[in-house]
Symmetry: C2
Subunit: 479 residues, 2 copies
C-alpha cells in the first residue's frame, strides 16, 4: 500500500513551472493516451477514448436531428484521385503517407492513407447524384486520418488523429452557405453544452483557409498559456470540387448544374482543449457532462462493518439515476484513491465512512474547486445532479472570464507586441492584405485566428501598412 | 413518375438464375454499398452503415456488461513489430499493404496498414501490465483493417472491412480460455437476438486456425446456396505473444509470469450473412431488430384531403413508441414506393388511404412473407411491436430449418461428395490428421468448417484414410 501511495504522490509538473510538461504529464498519468512505437501515432487508452465517445454521442444526435447520415469511405485515396483538385493536393501532398506495395506487388497508382476525404466523397457523389431530387446529400464519417507531421504532441498534433468529417452537396449556393454556418453553430453548442469551453467563432483569412475551400470558418479556444487552439472548422467549397470531379444534376429548370459543397470536422484535438482549459496542478478536471466517470464513491475505513454495503447502496442509487458512477472498493488507501480520481478529473467524489453512516449523511467533494459539502443520504442524487449543472456553469464561466480578460484591443505594432506578450488575442483592424498577415507572422509568430462575426470599427487604418482598415481580426499565437 | 416506376421495376436477377449476381444486385440496389476506384475498398453507404451501427450498439452493450473497454490503436504497424511473432507474420505477410513514404521521405521501417492488431495491443500491454493487479485487461477496438485480397466481394471479402477486435490479457490460462468461449457465446447471442441467424459453434482444426493462435473457435452460418460463411472467430493464444513481446506480471506468489491472451472479432461480413440468409427475389429482407428503418408509413392517394395528416399521425405514434420509422410522402407513386421499401427490406409497411381513414383502420404488410393484415388504428403500435417479435422468430426458424435440412451425416467419400453436391454441411468422423483434411480439400474443394461442440460417435473410422476416427467435423464449401 505504501508503495502505491508513493507512486500516486510523485505528482506532476506544476503548470507555472512548465506548462508543456504539465500537459504531457496529465495525458500520460490520467491514462488518456500512450505512445506507440511510431512517432505521432498515439494509443487512445480507455479513459481518453471514452471522452471521445461522449463527444461522438452528442454530435451524432445533433447530426441526425439535422438530417445527416453516417457513412464509411475507404482508408486509401489513389494518388491520381487526390490530384484532381489542384489547391487541395498542393495543401496535402507534403504530409502524405504513401503505400506503394500491396500483396507483395508494386502498385501502379500509389495509395495515400487518407489525410481528409473530400476527393472520395466527391467521386462517390458524382455517381449517385443526377437530379435536384437527389439533393441535398448530407453525409458524415467517423474515422481516423493520417498526416505526416514533423512535430507532434498528444491530441494537439498527431500523425494520426480521430475525427468526424461531414461532406455535403446542395442544390443552391445559399443552402450550402447556410449549412456551413449551421455546422459551426453545432460545434459552438458542443463547447457550451458539453465541454464547458467558450469558442470564438469567425471566418479564416485567405492565408489561413483550407486547401481548396472558398471560405473556411473556425471555432477557436483560448488556452491558459495564452495560445489559441483551432478546435473545429467548416468549409464552403462552392462548385470547385464538383466541377473538377464532374458532379452534375438536372435542376428544377431542366438544366445541368454543379452542386454546391461543404465539409466540416472536429477531432480528438478537443481532448487537448479540455485538458488545458480546465486542468489544474492535481491533474485533469473534467466538465461533468463529458466525463466518462461523473461520480466516484469511496468507502472510508471500508474494513469496518457496514461501510461497503452502504457504499454499494449509494452506487446503486446513482447508477439508477442514470449517472455514470464508479465504486472503488479496492484495498488501496483512501489517500491513493483521492489522488487517483483527482488526477483523472472525476467531477464529484462521494465519501462514506462509519460516522457518515451513523449520521445518515454523505460527503460530496467537487473536483473543480475542491469544496466539500455534507448532505443527507436521501438528498444525494438530487444534489449531485444539481452540482453537475452548477459545476458546468462554473467551469464555463471561468473559461469565459479568462477569454474576456485576454482579448486586447490594439492600434499599433507596439500594442500588438505587448498584447501577444501578455497572451491571448490581439484584436486589431487590418487592411485585408496577405502581406500584412505575413509580416505579423514574421515579427511576432502570431497568426490571424479569425475574422470574428462580431465586427465593429475600432480603427481607421491598418497598423502594419497604414492603409485603410477593412476588418477586425483576432491575432494570436496558436498551437 | 412513369420513368421512376420503370427504374424500380427493372428488377434484380432471380436467385435461382444466378445467386452470386442476385447478391451483388441487392448490395447495389438496396444502396448498402458502392464500389470505390480502388479494387476491394468499398463505400459503406448510409443504409448499409446504419445496419452496422445497430450491430455496434448491440455488441457495445454486451461488451460493457462483461467489463470490456473500447480503445483505439494506430492504423499502422512497423514491419519490424509485425515480425515479432513468427506464425503470425507468416499468415499475414502475403496480404499486407505497405507504406514506404511519409512526408516525402522513404521510411526506414516500412509501415503496414493494420491487417489485425495483436502486435499493437501486445506491445502496449507490455508497458501497462506489471502486476496481477493490472489483470485482466479487457480491451476492444472498432476500426477498419486492410488485407490485400485478390478476389473481393462486397462485405464477404474485401481489401478493407470494418470490424471489432477484442484483445484481452489474463492472469490464468483458465480465465483466458473462459473468455475465449464467453465471447463466442456473445456472438451466438447476436445471431439469435439481432440477426435472426442460427450459427453453428465449434473449434477450428489446426489447419484452419488463426495465424499465431493455439486454438480458434468460430460461428459459422449457412447460406442458401449451400456454402458456409465464417461469421466470427475467437482465439486463445496462451502465452505465445506475451512471451514474444515480453509481457510480464508479478503474480500473487511474487513470481514473474507471462499473461494468457485472447482475441476475437466480427466484421461487416455479417451484412453479407444477413443479405443472403434472409433475402428474396424482391431484394433485402431485414430482421426487425437490426433494421435501420423498422416500419415505413405510405400514404395512399395522398392528394386526397386528410391522408397526409393521418399518415403523419401514424408516424408520430410509431416514433413515440421508439420504433425506427420512416414516412414517405414524396410525390412518387405507391407502386414505386412499394418496390423501393421491399428492395430495402423494411420489415413492416403501413398503408393508409381514404377508405382506411373512413374505417379507422390501417393495413400492415409483413416483408418476410408478404402477408397483410388490417387492424384498428389504435391497435397499430401494439400490433407492430408484436409483429416484430413474430417476424424475428419466423425468420430465425426458417433459417434454422434450412440449417437442419442441410446437415448430412456421411460415412464414406461417396456420401461426402453427395452431401457437398446437395449443399450444406457434411457431418463426418475424422482421424485428426491434416493429410486427410488436405485430401478432402483437393478432391471436393470443401474445408473443415469446425469441430462442433456437440460431439457424438457416429463412426469408428475416418472415411478418408480408414484410421481410427477421433472427432466429428463439419465439412462444407465456404465463402
Amino acid at each position: 500500500m505504501a508503495n502505491q501511495n508513493q507512486i500516486k504522490n510523485d505528482a506532476i509538473t506544476r503548470r507555472e513551472d512548465d506548462f508543456a510538461q504539465w500537459y504531457t504529464d496529465v495525458c500520460k498519468k490520467a491514462e488518456l493516451m500512450d505512445y506507440s512505437s511510431v512517432k505521432g501515432f498515439i494509443i487512445y487508452r480507455p479513459y481518453g477514448y471514452a471522452i471521445w465517445e461522449e463527444i461522438q454521442n452528442y454530435l451524432n444526435k445533433r447530426f441526425k436531428q439535422t438530417g445527416h447520415q453516417n457513412v464509411y469511405m475507404p482508408t486509401v485515396i489513389p494518388e491520381s484521385l487526390l490530384q484532381k483538385e489542384k489547391d487541395h493536393v498542393e495543401g496535402f501532398a507534403p504530409e502524405c503517407l504513401v503505400a506503394n506495395i500491396g500483396g507483395g506487388q508494386t502498385l501502379e497508382d500509389p495509395l495515400i492513407i487518407r489525410p481528409t476525404s473530400e476527393t472520395l466523397f466527391t467521386e462517390h457523389y458524382a455517381k449517385i447524384i443526377s437530379s435536384y431530387r437527389d439533393l441535398p446529400k448530407l453525409y458524415n464519417q467517423w474515422c481516423s486520418v493520417v498526416r505526416w507531421e514533423k512535430t507532434t504532441r498528444p491530441f494537439l498534433r498527431g500523425a494520426e488523429f480521430l475525427w468526424q468529417e461531414g461532406h455535403t452537396m446542395h442544390e443552391t449556393e445559399e443552402e450550402a452557405r447556410t449549412e456551413t454556418l449551421r455546422m459551426l453553430e453545432i460545434y459552438d453548442d458542443l463547447g457550451r453544452d458539453l465541454l464547458a469551453i467558450p469558442f470564438v467563432k469567425g471566418r479564416k483569412t485567405e492565408k489561413e483557409k483550407f486547401a481548396g475551400a472558398l471560405e473556411t470558418y473556425s471555432i477557436e479556444a483560448l488556452m491558459p498559456d495564452g495560445k489559441a487552439l483551432q478546435s473545429g472548422t467548416t468549409h464552403y467549397f462552392g462548385q470547385g470540387f464538383s466541377k473538377a470531379f464532374g458532379v452534375q444534376f438536372q435542376g428544377r429548370d431542366g438544366k445541368l448544374n454543379n452542386p454546391y459543397q461543404t465539409s466540416w470536422g472536429v477531432s480528438t484535438r478537443l481532448l487537448g482543449a479540455i485538458i488545458m482549459v480546465h486542468g489544474d496542478d492535481n491533474g485533469l478536471v473534467l466538465p461533468p457532462y463529458v466525463a466518462p466517470i461523473q461520480a466516484v464513491v469511496l468507502p472510508i475505513a471500508q474494513q469496518k462493518p457496514g461501510v461497503i454495503p452502504a457504499a454499494r447502496a449509494l452506487y446503486k442509487d446513482l447508477e439508477d439515476a442514470g449517472i455514470r458512477v464508479k465504486l472503488d472498493e479496492s484495498d488501496k488507501t483512501p489517500g491513493w484513491k483521492f489522488s487517483e480520481y483527482e488526477m483523472k478529473g472525476v467531477p464529484v467524489r462521494i465519501e462514506i465512512g462509519p460516522r457518515d453512516i451513523e449520521n445518515g449523511v454523505v460527503t460530496i467533494a467537487k473536483r473543480n474547486d475542491g469544496t466539500k459539502i455534507t448532505v443527507k443520504k436521501e438528498e444525494m442524487v438530487a444534489t449531485v445532479k444539481q452540482l453537475f449543472d452548477t459545476m458546468h456553469k462554473e467551469m464555463y464561466q471561468k473559461a469565459y472570464q479568462y477569454l474576456l480578460d485576454h482579448v486586447t484591443e490594439v492600434h499599433s505594432m507596439e500594442e500588438l507586441n505587448a498584447a501577444l506578450e501578455k497572451g491571448g488575442y490581439a484584436k486589431m483592424m487590418w487592411c485585408g492584405d496577405r502581406a500584412c498577415e505575413d509580416k505579423i507572422k514574421e515579427l511576432t509568430n502570431a497568426t490571424a485566428r479569425c475574422i470574428p462575426f462580431n465586427q465593429m470599427e475600432i480603427d481607421t487604418v491598418c497598423p502594419v501598412c497604414g492603409k485603410k482598415a477593412a476588418k477586425v481580426v483576432l491575432f494570436a499565437k496558436a498551437y
